[in-house]
Subunit: 146 residues, 2 copies
């Protein structure tokens, strides 16, 4: 069978772990998990209420995970929810003032870590690698589960 360490899934997993090791300590300092941060990032990027389903898509999280994370973030007053008019099933999420403050505190440190990664691997190479990853994702996502 194919060598274990050389497989694509393991290569992707190991690369991601290596990258995340630069971010996790920063997030831990602010009592944030990676997934909580992804949601705050997404909310901050739009700066307009986002529905739960769209949030799940944007962050590559599953709906049940988003539900739990949102109840956590809501308990910490980092987000606010409001029901959508004309459709009582949906609820739209937005950052609270406290949430905005938190994002603004974390963002510079996150940027610094990213810059470290760019320096270590090479900015140009990193850009190309990410482009390749996007292409791989796209190729593999085309009608395979139909």
């Amino acid at each position: 069978m194919r060598s274990f360490d050389e497989s694509l899934p393991m290569a992707l997993l190991n690369a991601r772990e290596a990258a995340m090791s630069y971010f996790r300590p920063i997030l831990a300092d602010h009592d944030l998990t990676e997934q909580q941060w992804r949601i705050l990032r997404a909310l901050s990027a739009y700066d307009a209420p986002i529905e739960v389903g769209d949030l799940a898509t944007q962050t590559s999280l599953l709906a049940p995970s988003v539900t739990r994370i949102l109840s956590n973030l809501e308990g910490r007053n980092l987000i606010e929810r409001q029901t959508v008019e004309h459709d009582q099933r949906r609820s739209a999420i937005s950052l609270s003032a406290t949430g905005h403050e938190l994002v603004h505190r974390v963002a510079p440190q996150s940027e610094a870590a990213y810059n470290t990664i760019e320096t270590k691997f090479g900015k140009n190479k990193l850009t190309k690698l990410i482009a390749e990853l996007h292409e791989l994702t796209k190729q593999l996502s085309t009608n395979q589960d139909l």
Copy 2:
């Protein structure tokens, strides 16, 4: 702040999800999670008893996760454990006969999925991408948390 979707961690995450979507259904057919399969794969690759710590390193799992997964696999009689001589703290894990059979049933399907991925993205490009990922992992792993 840096665009959310274009970040390295998200690109790696999405690529891995896209790739794993080819394998997960196969594993599910055999009542295996991705992590359980990784451990069986590693045990199969060596065909000699492996200590728990080494198993964690090889599979990029954390020791507590390995402990839990092993107790699950042991309950299904897929693995066997024996204590190491001269060091009663360690225990060495190996595949049982049933475990070997299972690996031999799953492996061909896994190979087929891998071939599909190679075809979709291009065998050559995939090889290069994996090499780049290995280099990234190596660069980012060098003395950052000291």
